[in-house]
Amino acid sequence: MNRGARPPFPFALLRFWLARILPVWCGIALLIFLMQIAVSAIVHDNEKVKTFLAFIDMLPSVVKTALGGDMLRIGNTAGLLAIGYNHPFVLFLFMLYAVGTPTGLLVGEVQRGTMELILSRSVTKIQVYLCAGILTLVGMFALVLVMFLGTIAAVNIFTFKDRVPLEVFFRIAINGGLLASTFGAFSLLCAGTFGRLYAAVSVAVAFLVVNYFVAIISNWWPRMAFLKPVTLFYLVDSSRSWEGWPLRNMGILVVILLAATAVGAVIWHRRDLPL
């Protein structure tokens, strides 16, 4: 190595970590894919939709709000298909990956005592952080693409009366992917900041849960509507994706994502790790 030169990018670390998270990623991707098929299996048939909506109407109205609100009605095939994107189980799977990956990789290695070994090799702390960031963000977008592929597969498996506007679903998926990646970046920030896994996970999950419930309550309770813009979920309002790319919202998400990632990188680089 030349004197003062930065070590080459640690692709070995990227591969090593990828091999560790791949089984989990595949499991999550499979569940998200199957969820789209399952939702399509219900919503392609009007009789099933009626039964489904009757069932939803029996539940507290907040549940309907969480699944899509007024978009859920007979004849609105696209709105019904979007349940597969808004469903709390799908969101839970996304957030499981968003929180688990960066905290598990960075704080997990620190707590296991193996980060000392990694950092004793020819690799910088920032490169280690970047590896965790790449796997989080790329993994997140790959999950979103799997979700979209699930919709494509479902549209080809089942017959729908109306044309399913796949381009809208693609826009929703990309926008949703940005939101999920922003949560991933926040988790990365937590992983770079906290020395203990439970602390990093707790703060990341708390941020996510508060955002989610504020979004649900502000949509469900008119008096709380003023809280809508406070949450990150406001930036993936799928109704805007019908008209075109929601560039403003996507721009805001990208800025938040980059800021959280950069702040996390600075903190991670400057602090002494509890080795």
Binding site: M1, P7, F16, E116, L117, L119, S120, S122
Partner: protein
Amino acid sequence: MAAIEIESLTKWYGRTRGVEDVTFAIERGEIFGYLGPNGSGKTTTIRCLMGLLRPSGGGVRVLGERVVPGRGTQHARIGYLPGDFRIWGRARARRSLGFLAALGSDGSAARRRELAVRLELNLDRATGDLSKGNRQKVALISAFQHQPEVLVLDEPTAGLDPLMRQTALDLIRAAAGGGAAVLLSSHDLSEVSAVCSRAAILREGRLVEMAPISQIIQQGEHRLKIWFRNGALTREVPLPQLPGVRVVEKEPGMLHLAYQGAADAILKWVAQFPVDRVATPQTSLEEAFIQYYRQSSNAKGPTAKGGSA
């Protein structure tokens, strides 16, 4: 140019001192012992040297380059064995070692195999299933596998059986013979005196001694063992009249004394009795080390901190 240069290194953990004003240098081909009890700051020094901790003051240079924390400075040329070696338990030793070698250096699988044969280690077992001694062998291979120019070894023989300990010491000697600079931190003073040419002793984060091993031993107490003819020693040793002298052992007809400074006063006192024979046992590094701590036990400073050392 020294391979490792540590100058006025200081590290505080809040208000607790890790190390303060530590300065030393290690030349290529030299094995340098780094001694101190738990909490004296050995691991803190090593982690600053590896760029794992950000020093509060002073600096470190390795192979001529200033160590910048978190930048992996010259790490491709350093073999590091941490005091508390932990590795991925589920992965096979071969895979973990291959991964560590691939992180920015020319890890040689052939060299890895050669070391495994020498240390009698099966690389195809998961490290989580290995005994403590075998995990230590994995640690040794991880430090030596890329034939580094600098070796930073924190308790390298911990948990090894006596035969493997010798093999490990041979590896260290061979590396130094090939021109590597070795920083060897250890509690095992016999090991340090066996392989090191120089050593530094750390107490509560400060260097209290740095000298060739032989000099450290000589600076300690000297020993004198006297056998008296027919149990001729009839009186107690007049310790108040013999400053710096203490009785190590006393048996009928035999007296084992330790003394500092000149032996003149003792010999004059002993000459009053018929002496059968005299021996001067060698002081060990361990005795010298204990003495450093005994001498300075009254001068208490803030407690040092930092990992296992």
